[in-house]
């Protein structure tokens, strides 16, 4: 029996699970990496504790809590953005892209399906950062407002999924590796305040950070998780992220369509 979109998404999830289970070491390494990163951030926080910067006062003054949320959210955003492009590139190199594109599934379903497993793994990593931080290193998230954090996180993932679609369109059309995810992530780490509040940046650079979606994501999620701010208090960050969504998704859909038309005009998926 044909059940359409659900069956196609399940097929992707199942395929990627089976592929991942053939290289369990890579999965284990993700867990180990979190196990190393969290204590590193904790002891950096211990080092900075006696001289806690007034810049951190807005977030409760604890550097460890500030930075672990920053790293966890940035990891999730980078994975969300890079998932579809990485999948497209893998299919190009394996020679399976043509077969996948020749299926009757819509391009949107294919993009979503290809992103499901990496996004799920990134979500596990995100949760692990917070869980290890909370259980072992006393990350202060007991006041977290789950509803407002969830809304800001959903908006954030929507923005980065749109950026990911743009990136995948670039990989599809140019048949080149993804150069955008690394560039956007690096610029965001500098400008959005992953390791430090944006208030420490020079005023001109702070203006630039206002153009980066991750700035609003980090600010909103830190306030929701560390202070328990409600949606009303986070309306500025939520509105900015919604603005990015409104601008980026039409551009992403247009880029995806143009890339597919370009591919159908110019020939094999990897020339």
């Amino acid at each position: 029996m044909r059940s359409g979109v659900r069956a196609t998404l399940w097929a992707f999830l199942r395929r990627d699970y089976v592929l991942a289970s053939t290289s369990r070491l890579a999965f284990a390494w993700h867990i180990v990496a979190v196990g190393f990163a969290v204590p590193t951030m904790y002891y950096l926080g211990v080092l900075l504790r006696p001289t806690a910067s007034p810049h951190l006062a807005l977030y409760g003054g604890d550097y460890f809590s500030f930075v672990i949320v920053g790293v966890a959210v940035t990891t999730l955003c980078a994975a969300t953005m890079g998932a579809c492009a990485a999948a497209v590139r893998r299919e190009q190199l394996q020679g399976t892209l043509d077969v996948v594109l020749a299926s009757p599934a819509t391009p949107g379903t294919l993009a979503l399906g290809a992103s499901l497993w990496p996004a799920a793994m990134a979500a596990v990593e995100f949760a692990l950062y917070l869980a290890v931080g909370a259980v072992i290193f006393h990350l202060q998230i007991h006041r977290a407002n789950i509803l407002s954090a969830g809304v800001v996180l959903a908006l954030t993932l929507g923005v980065f999924a749109a950026l990911g679609t743009l990136t995948a369109a670039f990989v599809l059309a140019t048949r080149r590796p993804d150069a955008l995810t690394g560039a956007v992530t690096s610029a965001s780490v500098l400008l959005a305040g992953v390791f430090y509040p944006t208030t420490v940046l020079p005023p001109a650079v702070q203006s630039a950070s206002a153009l980066v979606p991750l700035t609003y994501a980090l600010h909103g999620l830190r306030l929701a998780l560390l202070r328990g701010d409600d949606l009303g208090a986070l309306s500025g960050d939520a509105a900015a992220l919604a603005g990015f969504l409104v601008v980026l998704w039409p551009a992403a859909i247009l880029a995806g369509r143009l890339a597919l038309v370009h591919l159908r005009r110019t020939g094999p998926a990897l020339g």
Binding site: A11, R14, L101, H262, R265, T266, G267
Partner: protein, 246 residues
């Protein structure tokens, strides 16, 4: 079932499409064809004749530059998703699989892409593997398959959705004679009993003559001749269509 009218395809640098400089390659020119339901139609010609390009246009993987093609009344350029429910393409190469997955897992995934739920995908994958004589290697990873086994897996994949139109690009290239003969018999049954329309691109004159109801001889992107089975002197007519001596 398939109608092509004044079909043309030109490949070239993107800038050339806008009138700029760049070398263009005209892969197809003024191809007009009709393939009937249940017919096995051959595309015969030397390398670079345009056979694969024509198959890829019918499979919606390429857009024509001129003219149009329809499959079961659906335009391949304007309605690709619906055409893909009717058409399946099997390329002759042994690529196009997830090499770390088994043959069964590969086919289950591709059946899922066709929209079949998990149990139906499993059933169709098992059936197709048996049909492809891969029953003993079902759970082996594809990287352990021989070239011929991967080619049979490609044919099995094309049959997963019971397509009304089967496009085959050199389907028996890497098969041993026995396997090739078995496949030809099976394809004939599919067309005769199942009403499946089959378009087959091949270099092999004997394969085209043995299997196809009609054959279009392609050279430099143009149809040079249309030959029908039983016309006689198939080989010499093919060579004469290409402008060479027997």
């Amino acid at each position: 079932m398939i109608r092509a009218r004044a079909l043309g395809k030109t490949f070239g640098p993107w800038i050339a499409a806008f009138g700029g400089r760049g070398r263009c390659v005209r892969a197809l020119a003024e191809v007009t064809l009709d393939v009937e339901r249940g017919e096995i139609f051959g595309l015969l010609g030397p390398n670079g004749a345009g056979k694969t390009t024509l198959l890829r246009i019918i499979a919606t993987l390429l857009l024509p530059s001129e003219g149009h093609v329809s499959v079961a009344g659906l335009d391949v350029a304007r309605d690709p998703l619906r055409v893909r429910r009717v058409v399946a393409l099997a390329s002759g190469g042994d690529h196009g699989f997830y090499w770390r997955l088994s043959g069964r897992e590969n086919l289950r995934f591709f059946a899922g892409l066709l929209g079949y739920d998990s149990s139906e995908a499993r059933r169709r994958a098992s059936e197709a593997l048996v049909r492809a004589d891969l029953g003993a290697a079902t759970d082996e990873s594809v990287q352990r398959y021989s070239t011929g086994m991967r080619q049979r897996l490609g044919l099995a994949r094309a049959l997963l959705g019971s397509p009304a139109v089967l496009l085959l690009d050199e389907p028996t290239r890497s098969l041993d004679p026995t396997a090739a003969t078995n496949w030809r018999t099976w394809l004939r049954t599919l067309a005769t009993d199942g009403g499946t329309t089959i378009v087959l691109a091949t270099h092999a004159l004997d394969e085209a003559e043995a299997l196809c109801d009609r054959v279009a001889v392609l050279a430099s992107g143009r149809v040079r001749a249309l030959l029908a089975r039983g016309d006689g002197a198939f080989g010499s007519r093919y060579l004469s269509a290409l402008g060479t001596q027997a």
